[in-house]
Symmetry: C2
Subunit: 346 residues, 2 copies
C-alpha cells in the first residue's frame, strides 16, 4: 500500500490553500467573464455585468457571541458581502443567507440575527431572495452570497493599477481590530473573575467597538465616484488589513507601492487604545483588518475630483514592480511592507 | 426586567423556521422576480432570467465521513445545487464553493473534496467562479451557491399545477434513503466490534449505495423537455422525499393530488433491501429523500410526448384542493399522504 501523504493546512495558509485548490480551474461558459481571484466573480448579464461574491462566518473563528449581539452579527454578515460588491464599483441587489445552528439557539435568538440581516437589506436596498437553514452539531455558521450589478465600462478590478497612480483609502483604518482587542481583554478579565454576567462598559470606546461590531459598507463612496465620473484604476475592500490588500492589488496589477505612514488615516481613539496595548497604531492599520473601507488607485488626472472629499485620503503612489511595496515611516525610514492576511488555521 | 421568551427551534421544524423568518420580506429591486419559496430565486437578466440557489451541508447532519469518500461528497455537494436549477427548467452555469474545516483535515483531504467538486463541474458544464475557505472548530461545512439561466417563457415554478394535470417523476425513488440505512447499519456493526478499519462490502448493493453517495442531477430530463417542446406546468426536485415535495407543489399551486402507489417507480434493489429492514418500500419513496429526481406536472395534452421515455413515470393526477393529497395503495385503500421533510433539529 502507498504511504499516504499528509500536508497540514497551516503550511499553506488561507490564501495559499485557495490558490492551490483553484489553480487549474477551466472556464467553460461564455457568460463567465472573471472567476476566482477578485472581490467578486463577473458574469455577463445582458447589457450589464453581474457580480457574485460569498463569505462564510464561523462562530469562534470570525465572531464571539460573548460580546457580539446577534442583531449586530446579522447586520455585519451582510455588510462583509456588500463591501465586496462595492469594491468592484457595483451595486448589490440580492443576497441569499444560509445558516447552520445548534439547538442551543432559540427561535427568538435566530429572530434577532435575522432582524440584523433584514436591517442591513433595508439600509442598503438589497433583497433577501433565498437561503438554507439547517442544524449544526456545534455553534453558528453563516454563509451569505451577494449578487450585484455594474455597467460594463465601470467595473473595477484589482488588476488595473499603473505606475504613477495615487493610492487612496476611504475612512480610517485599524479601529475594528483595536476594538476587538479591547473586547477580548474585557472578556478575559471577566472569565478570570466569577461575575454572573458579562457587561463591560465601553462608553469611552464607542467608536472602536462600533467599528468592530457594526461596520458599514462604503455605498456612499461608490455613489460619490458615480457622481464625479471617477472610475478607479483598481479597487479592493479592506477586510484583511491594508498590507494584505495592497499586496493583492500590486500582485494582480504587476506593480509596486510606496505608502506614506503619516497619511494613513487612523482615528484618534484607535491611536490612543493602540498605545495602551503597547502597539504601534500603524500596525493595527496595516495588519488589523475588518475595516470594510475601500482601497483604490486613481489616475493622477482625477486628483482634483477628490480634493474636497474629506473621507478619502491619498496615502501613497503606485511605483514599478521592481521597487517593491514599501512604507515611508513618520520617523523617516523606508521599510518593506509584509503581507499579513488572517491566518485562521491555528 | 422582562422575562425572556425561549422557543425551541424543534417546535417549528426546518420549513416552519424558514417560513417564520422570511414571512415579512419585502422586495425592493425591480430585478428581483421571485425571492424565497421555490427551488431557486428568479432574477431579471437582460433577455434571460437568472436562477439562484444555495445549499449548506454540515458534517454529522447531512453526511458521515465514516462511509462517505470526500471525492463523492464534493461531487454530491454540487449535484444538490444543480438539481435545484434543473427543477426550474434552467441550465446551471456557475457555482461558488465555501468550506469551513477543522485542522484535522489535511491538504490532501481537501484536494480529494475539490476533485469531486471539479468533476461535477466538468460533467455538468459549470464554472467554479468563487468561494471562501475558512477554518471551523469542529467538522466540515460546505456551502454552495449555483447560478443558472432560463428563457423567460420556459421557467417552471412550483405554482403552476392545475386540476387534471398528470403527476410525473423521473428515475426511481427511495434508493438513496435505503442505501444510507444500509451504510448506517454496517457502521453500527463496525462500531460494536473492535476492527481497526471500516470496510464494508456493498458489492451486492451497488445501486442503492451509489444512489446515496454519488447521485446525479437530471440534466438529461431538462434536455429531453427542450427537445420535445415540453414545459411542465410545475416542477420541484426530490430532496426531502416525494410526499414533502408533493405538498410543496400542492400548496403553491392551490391544488390536491391523487397518487397511484403501484405507479411509483422503486428499484428492485431498493424494494428488497427495504423489506430486509422491515420497511414498506413505498415509505422509503414517500419519506426518504435525497433522490434528486424531478417531480413535475404535465398538461394531459403532452402525454404523447413522454410515452416512449422509459425514465419518466406517470404516478398520479392533480385534483382539486378540497380532495386533498391522497395515495391509492396497491391493496386498494385510499390514504391521506402526510408531509415529512427532514427534521434535523433533534
Amino acid at each position: 500500500m502507498d504511504e499516504i501523504k499528509r500536508t497540514d493546512i497551516n503550511e499553506l495558509g488561507e490564501f495559499g490553500l485557495i490558490g492551490h485548490l483553484t489553480k487549474d480551474l477551466a472556464i467553460i461558459n461564455e457568460s463567465t467573464i472573471l472567476g476566482v481571484g477578485d472581490d467578486a466573480a463577473i458574469i455577463r448579464n445582458g447589457e450589464h455585468l453581474m457580480l457574485l461574491t460569498t463569505d462564510m462566518l464561523v462562530e469562534g473563528i470570525h465572531f464571539d457571541l460573548m460580546y457580539t449581539p446577534l442583531k449586530h452579527l446579522g447586520y455585519k454578515s451582510v455588510i462583509v458581502n456588500l463591501s465586496d460588491i462595492y469594491a468592484m464599483n457595483g451595486r448589490p441587489e440580492q443576497i441569499t443567507v444560509s445558516i447552520a445552528l445548534s439547538n442551543r439557539f432559540s427561535v427568538e435568538a435566530i429572530e434577532e440575527l435575522y432582524s440584523g440581516i433584514k436591517k442591513a437589506c433595508e439600509v442598503y436596498g438589497v433583497d433577501l431572495v433565498g437561503g438554507d437553514t439547517t442544524s449544526s452539531n456545534k455553534g453558528l455558521i453563516i454563509s451569505i452570497t451577494a449578487i450585484g450589478k455594474v455597467e460594463k465600462d465601470k467595473v473595477v478590478r484589482r488588476s488595473g493599477a499603473k505606475k504613477g497612480d495615487l493610492i487612496c483609502v476611504s475612512g480610517d483604518l485599524g479601529a475594528s481590530y483595536i476594538g476587538m482587542q479591547l473586547m477580548e481583554r474585557e472578556k478575559q478579565l471577566f472569565l478570570s473573575k466569577s461575575i454572573p454576567e458579562f457587561k463591560a462598559d465601553f462608553e469611552d470606546q464607542k467608536y472602536i467597538v462600533g467599528r468592530h461590531l457594526l461596520p458599514e459598507a462604503r455605498k456612499d463612496i461608490i455613489g460619490f465616484f458615480n457622481q464625479q465620473g471617477i472610475i478607479p484604476t483598481s479597487m479592493i475592500d479592506i477586510s484583511d488589513g491594508l498590507s494584505s490588500e495592497l499586496f493583492h492589488i500590486c500582485k494582480n496589477s504587476g506593480v509596486g507601492a510606496y505608502i506614506e505612514e503619516g497619511n494613513v488615516p487612523i482615528h484618534l481613539e484607535t491611536q490612543q487604545m493602540a498605545i495602551k496595548f503597547n502597539m504601534d497604531p500603524i500596525t493595527a492599520a496595516l495588519s488589523g483588518g475588518e475595516d470594510y473601507e475601500l482601497l483604490f488607485t486613481l489616475d493622477p488626472g482625477d486628483v482634483e475630483k477628490i480634493r474636497f472629499q474629506n473621507d478619502i485620503a491619498i496615502i501613497g503612489e503606485i511605483v514599478s514592480k521592481e521597487d517593491g511595496v514599501r512604507l515611508h515611516t513618520t520617523g523617516g525610514n523606508v521599510h518593506p511592507i509584509v503581507a499579513q492576511g488572517w491566518k485562521h488555521f491555528g
